[in-house]
Amino acid sequence: MSIVSLSKIKKADMKSAIIKSLNLIGYQFSRDIQRIVIKPNMCYYWDHSTGQTTDPEFTGALIDILRDNVSSETEISIVESDASAMKCKHAFKFLGYEKLAQKYNLRLVNLSEEKSDPVKVPAGDQSFHLMVPRIIQKADLRINVTKIKYSLEKIKITCALKNIYGCNPYPKKFRYHSKLNQAIVAINKAMKFDLCLVDGNIVAGSQPRKLGLVMASKDPVAIDSAAATIAGVRPNTIGYIGLARQEGLGDTNFVTKGESLDYFKERFPRKDAKKKIMSQAYNLVALLKLGKKLGLE
């Protein structure tokens, strides 16, 4: 059974909350690490106040911790890839990561422009031809710094596993949306991350809310299962979580350490019945391709 830690950000001190979370799962950084890759969530150009993207201050607090624990020579890279609607060069700038890179002497890497190697990865009843960026292959430590969000798509919520979907260098990711559960799992099989951290300071539930949550785990399936539980969604109803467990990416059974999971679950901004119905109706309109006729796009 995997451990998921939960800690509360007190007095805006993100660094202490991250350290506490890491201590609770017994995580220790090796001083021999040469190359670190950090993958924050930059799904679009919405800034961190919306709860949709990782707060650069949170990533900065993590880098402070890394600088305290690993060699000063260690190369730290922030990675993201172009997406159907989002361009990395803009996301790094607009979301404050260029400033962060200057402050901490980081590399900002657009994975869509990096050298990559092809792999064929089966996941469930599908098989995917993917490209794996060499910077991810060669990293000694890969850290997934993600968000908890409800998703408009059928996958219900997105957290650690979905964030790695953004490491796929192929920009037109929308192409995978018809088999999203399998694609998420395949990409996670091709690019395994060592540590997952959730920036739950602001979460994007039915509306953004300051939750002050930090989660940590070495197991992306466990942390996603815990995140789903906090968001009021049963993990076994989320296709990619079940498939990730079947494919050996982690365990849906987890134990929590630190703050009570119920404390955050009670405060998470859940979708009410009206929003659930609206979400279903919108999916139906999209399915029937009625958007243009109804003026919804």
Binding site: T50, F94, K293, L294, L296, E297
Partner: protein, 331 residues
Amino acid sequence: MKKIKLGLIGLGFIGKTHLRNSLRLANADLIAVSDISKRALNDAQKLGVKRAFSNYEELLKDRQLDAVIIALPTHLHLKCAKRAAEDKKHILLEKPIARNVAEAKEIVSIAQKNSVKLMIGYPLRFNAIMSNLRGKIKSGVLGDVAIAHATYVNPGPFQHREQDYAPTPVPEWWFNKELTGGGALIDLGSHMINLLRWYFGEIADIKSHLGYRFNLDLEDHAICLAKFESGTTAVINVGWFSQEYQLKVELLGTVKHAVAQNIPPKRISAAIQMLTMNTTPFWRPFAVELEYFANCIANDVRPSPSGNDGLKDLEAIESAYRNSIQLNEIS
């Protein structure tokens, strides 16, 4: 009455709105479109447009055309308007008229020289709620308006875009100051400045504070303080930073106060309105604007807002950029 023959140049976000509306006009026929996107041209032809061109210069050669709607990115306005005027086509040009005052003056001058009508696309002028507010000012029911607050905030270029249900990237020109002439102030501020000039007349002085929340090379929000010759002082807030749309004008008069707000319909009511009326009250001003433009041509009337209006709006905006002030921390 003779129906005006229209051409539409540019099938981007606002061009598509003009496309839908111009196909339903009683006093005009849309007979040609141009765009660099083959998909957009195909879609327009499926809707019934007879001629589609990938180059607007080909469209302008069409002798049947009386007028064109130019819905191109701002950096292309001057060249396209110049060609249209030289080809004796009346012009409805999307706001802002140009990237800068020098270009705007050239556009106005070319239109005058070629005796073509030039109208600038400011749909708020055709919005019933905003017109009612003007009626209240002109009737005196508010007394003298001492203070006006005008706010226009929306996602701007960050609006999530889709094409056939697939997300599409923001066009690069949005983030290039050379191509746009500025950020939220020229994009959204031009609407508000034009509206307030319609209400209160010419601006005597204007200052601005520009904000850069998204670390862009151009401002993503701005606050302007404007003094009108009529005595009204206005605060204009514009921004691209919000996921939520707000367009609101509040007038504080010596007798009464008044507020006008342009609220986009909720998804369900928009869908019902589209099914029953083929438009929504929110989008209706764009259709009224086109109908008015076609009437101006048919009746040989000078349209308003004119090219000169667009020029004066841009002069105020350039002045606001020049007179921008920094707000420092209290020491």
